[in-house]
Amino acid sequence: MSPQDDMEGLLEQFGKRLRERSDLANRVQARLKSAAQPISRSALSWMRGLTMRQRITLGGIVTAAAVLLAVFLASDRSGKRLFAQAIEKTGEARTCTFELIITQMLSEEERALIKESMPDWDETGIVKYYWQAPGSVRWEVFASAKSEEPVEVTIRPWNKPGISIKHWEKTYEIHSSRTDPDSTSVTTFVRRLRRCPEEAVRELGRKQIGEGISEGFEVSHKDLFPPDPTVSPEHQPDTVEIWIDVESQFPTQIEMRSDKARNVMRNFKWDVELPRNVFDTVKPEGYASETYPEALTPLRYPAERTPSVTDSQIELIIRALKCYAKLSGGHYPKVQMLDGNAARHKMSEMAGIDLPRIRSNMAPRWYEDPLQREAAATWQGLVTITAIQHADLDAAYHGIDVGPDDADKVLLRWKHTNDTYQVIYGDLRTEVVTAKRLKRIE
């Protein structure tokens, strides 16, 4: 194949090498740190009218005030100031490790299902997490506190392809660099905390954590994060508790709670040297690839900004609706507002798939029946419809009145640009139409 034939590959490779060799970000950062802050001439111009004695007196008052302020800042490590200081300090950290404990209220069936694939699993299982600025992450999942080896490892080096290795079923999944919205970053968490309004932060007092004293703060989870459509509502946390060491000013424990789940991040270590090769991504020998096409990435909701719906997401919606109609005997979800989770459960029920609440990604290859496989591969298309309906996209879904035989009736539509709408008809044809034409056909 000549370079002309694989133009996209050629450009991608070139871009990759360009990014790998570039030190522009470091040079800009160095420039920003060394650049002196310009002093506005007009800000000091009023001093020109003062005598030298007045200037000296004023200078003394200003200096005294500055010293008092500095003493106050240095001594006041309690209350919300500590919270703000911890955010600043955490934002400057270069590395971090912690353990994550996820406690779920599971039914007996769900426990049995997990045990089927992982006999060693129990509720003492933990996740060990490594992070390095600006965004390389690795997490290792241990089935129980007694486990010496992880059952799953995910490695996402910053700006490079990542890998998830499931030792328990001998498979691996390759992640593309930068394109996965689930890439994690401690700094992003900190940025979200920074945006939390001060009045929304509740003080919890002090307690001993590890060798030091930590001060606790509580915020509402919804003040920090949008709901995740792939997690059942009862498992989405209500509150987030953040405990901060009063001496180091770094978080020592973060806890997210709901009625049905409790996730605790503990044993934090900040700015420590990480094990060598911790972000190396090596395909394990003899493991099967479980890499899915990027096309199946669902749209998250509610989006913090107006989202764009990609062509592959439209394809996913169509496949999900087609599969739903086949399973239901010829109709789409008969509702006005589609609830992604409810539709997903209905779809799995019709397909005869035992879908546990805690599994957000079903593996299609687990199912022998082609329709079950298709349901497992496409259900996220239904969640995508919910996301579109919740986003500010002037969307409408007509599943009550429109079925697969209604070739010319609008089943789903949403605003594409200011002038056009994306339409999916009853027979699942797609078309981009003007607002004027939409009025005629809807």
Binding site: Q4, L11, G15, R17, L18, R19, R27, V141, R178, S185
Partner: protein, 185 residues
């Protein structure tokens, strides 16, 4: 499996909007992430005007520094992409003007500013071809392939619908194919 990506998804990859907001609050590392996100497109845009690799890099660096200093003036954080491209174009044009003045003086331009000999040849092979694309196509190709942004992020950065960006990308790739064949003749 007990732990899914969504359990950790609270800590998503930051959006341009989030990075701009953090950088506005003084977070230099957030701004560095913005630099990484747009550096390819910014450098190529600078090169299309100054036609020299080292100068393009200097212009890119200067443009990002200016952007950081004026970040509070950016009204819509999502518009960082088009905004930084406007800055880089202004900067590159100013450099061009200075160079033109120098060229008009006693010193020959070729001697005053070393040409790109010895610099990264791959850049000099691909970017001139890329620069022959219409501006809008060059920008979407650079964002998509050189900076590695997903199509939806390219759409956001350019303020165009995903469908339009997809079509522009496809047209641009076709056009580049033809340009490369022509260049090899």
């Amino acid at each position: 499996m007990l732990v899914t990506r969504s359990h950790l998804s609270e800590l998503f990859m930051p959006s341009t909007e989030e990075l701009v907001q953090a950088a506005t609050e003084g977070d230099v590392s957030a701004f560095s992430e913005l630099v990484r996100r747009y550096e390819g497109t910014v450098t190529v845009t600078a090169w299309s005007i100054v036609r020299d690799f080292h100068t393009a890099q200097d212009v890119a660096q200067e443009s990002f520094v200016i952007a950081y200093q004026k970040l509070s003036q950016l009204r819509d954080a999502r518009a960082f992409g088009p905004w930084i491209l406007t800055i880089v174009k202004c900067e590159a044009l100013q450099i061009q003007k200075k160079r033109a003045k120098q060229a008009a003086g006693a010193v020959a331009l070729d001697e005053a500013i070393p040409a790109s000999a010895g610099c990264w040849t791959e850049f000099e092979e691909i970017v001139p071809v890329l620069s022959q694309l219409p501006e809008q196509e060059r920008i979407v190709v650079s964002l998509r392939y050189l900076d590695g942004l997903p199509v939806r992020d390219v759409a956001e950065a350019t303020g165009r619908p995903v469908g339009t960006v997809t079509k522009q990308l496809s047209r641009a790739v076709q056009r580049l194919r033809g340009l490369l064949i022509e260049a090899e003749r």
